[in-house]
Subunit: 133 residues, 2 copies
DNA sequence: CCGGATCCCGCTTGATACTG
DNA sequence: CAGTATCAAGCGGGATCCGG
């Protein structure tokens, strides 16, 4: 044995990164809020509770599967609360928890920087592409 | 023809999302900073200029390819400056631009929330998994 | 009406080897 | 030293169909 170096190295590297992710809160938070739909859902729920179908309509282009998956993750992480009302047909509302609401200022900061500086980024990008297209 | 509905739908949805991304600064910023290596590079450069190999050593588990790719993207976006010194062998330094440095407070806010509240998220997660494993 | 299960495709990641 | 070229694989994200 002792000849599986390649695969072993790969697994070790991946393991190291996984361990790092597992213990780095910032990494975890970034992974959460950078999820394709998470920020949109958080915004959709900012003004109060919403039904599943409402959120689905509010966010253009999200598939039911991804919306459910996103909401489940947020519920699991204690950022969103899921409330089922036994009507016919069933009614399901989603609402931000206190923890979820505490995240809003963070998103707000991100949004502020983006709106203030993203133009500079775009300009730099265009210049870079112009020099070596 | 007129039977390629699946693929067409997919492409339309992707297109809609791409259009949205193209015009939403926040989405763009999130996509940038949430990149696997971007935040690590930004942190590595926080204290001043660094050479390629230094960064490579500072960040465990990054392949040359991904490091280069990350640095190129950051350079393109005007967040990092690349400076080549004609020595033998060649010397290349990377340094945050003013724009790049202006991003640090944003990362700082994210980090603060993560360190303060991520435990709550982890707790909620454990509870959720405990209820329905 | 809500959302779980399954299959599948394409993109990104990353290891590895090579060059100026 | 500072990258580029190539190639394989894993996985995110979506369509589609089915159950509660």
């Amino acid at each position: 044995m002792a000849t599986t170096t390649a695969k072993q190295h790969q697994e070790l590297a991946k393991q190291r990164y996984d361990d790092f992710v597992a213990e780095c809160p910032t990494r975890q938070l970034l992974d959460r809020i950078s999820d394709k739909w998470v920020s949109l859902v958080l915004i959709a729920l900012a003004d109060g509770p919403r039904r599943y179908a409402e959120i689905n309509r509010a966010i253009a282009g999200v598939s039911p599967k991804m919306l459910t998956q996103t909401l489940r993750t947020l519920e699991r992480d204690g950022l969103v609360e899921r409330r089922i009302t036994a009507e016919v047909p069933v009614r399901v509302d989603y609402e931000l928890t206190a923890l979820g609401r505490s995240l809003q200022p963070v998103l707000s900061v991100i949004k502020s920087w983006a709106e203030a500086r993203m133009d500079d980024v775009l300009t730099a990008r265009a210049r870079y592409d112009g020099v070596s297209p």
